[in-house]
């Protein structure tokens, strides 16, 4: 990276304290504007929940059918995400703050528990219908928590990933 200087060297002659505060405040405004644009369409989470139902439910299905349904679910995820990002022009692929990180952990945990429990159903000879119940629960949790995740994501985007209500320049 070119043209770098230490804060001590540049701060005095380029940016006064007031200018720095104004600059940081303008970034906060831009970030809030961007957060308003991160609105997930109504169809996104129901479809995502449906895909999760397929992925989890596939574990309880026999042999080739299991692989086929699993492959369908795996292919549908990037199709869904691409459709969304192309329509809205915003791609956020990772949590942006502590609350979204926690929610993502919970979502991955729910998916893992669902898949493992359905594998257990498959290999212990329990009635396969229970696998469907587990899959539907996982799909519903994903749809509901996914919407909540988006609300939290918008809040954290607007606050710069901080949860203490402060933003840069407001310290």
């Amino acid at each position: 990276m070119e043209n770098n200087q230490s804060a001590e060297a540049r701060g005095g002659d380029v940016s006064s304290q007031q200018e720095a505060l104004e600059t940081l405040a303008s970034l906060d405004v831009d970030r809030a504007l961007l957060a308003e644009r991160v609105v997930t369409p109504w169809w996104y989470h129901p479809i995502l929940g449906g895909i999760v139902t397929l992925l989890v439910g596939a574990q309880a299905l026999p042999g080739v059918l299991s692989m086929a349904v699993l492959a369908l679910g795996v292919v549908m995820i990037p199709v869904l995400v691409t459709a969304y990002t192309r329509s809205y022009g915003v791609s956020v692929t990772a949590p942006v703050g502590p609350r979204t990180r926690r929610l993502m952990t919970v979502l991955v945990g729910v998916l893992t528990v669902g898949m493992v429990s359905n594998l257990g159903i498959k290999f212990t000879g329990i009635e396969p219908a229970w696998g469907l119940v587990s899959a539907v629960i996982c799909g519903a949790v994903t749809a509901v928590l996914g919407r909540h995740y988006d609300d939290v994501l918008r809040t954290e985007l607007a606050s710069g990933g901080r949860t203490d209500g402060r933003s840069r320049g407001a310290a």
């Binding site: 961007l34 791609s91 310290a171």
Partner: protein, 104 residues
């Protein structure tokens, strides 16, 4: 969590428009050209000019993608911070934080 970034002033990033562009990109993976243009109320030419400067300095990377909603040859342009650009931005913001806090 990693340590606080070093406070280093980056002149390429500090230009007001370029800093705002980087600020928008800071917490997302990618933004489409039109989203940045509309959010910052810029013209296509002005945004293109500043993105070119940032790309030449290895702060951002541009990715072209065909648009299924367009029948002509126009493409979507996605913009993302490079790893070096992300580091530089964090250092620059740390620098501004210090100045704003009266530490410099």
């Amino acid at each position: 969590m990693s340590a606080e970034p070093a406070a280093t002033f980056h002149v390429v990033i500090h230009a007001p428009l370029r800093l705002r562009i980087c600020g928008l990109l800071r917490q997302v993976s990618e933004l489409e050209f039109g989203v940045i243009r509309d959010a910052l109320k810029l013209t296509d030419a002005n945004l293109s000019k500043n993105l070119k400067v940032l790309a030449e300095a290895d702060v951002v990377v541009l990715r072209k993608e065909r648009s299924p909603s367009r029948t002509d040859a126009r493409r979507l342009t996605w913009v993302a911070l490079t790893p070096a650009g992300r580091t530089a931005l964090e250092e620059h913001l740390a620098s501004l934080d210090r100045i704003a806090a009266g530490e410099v």
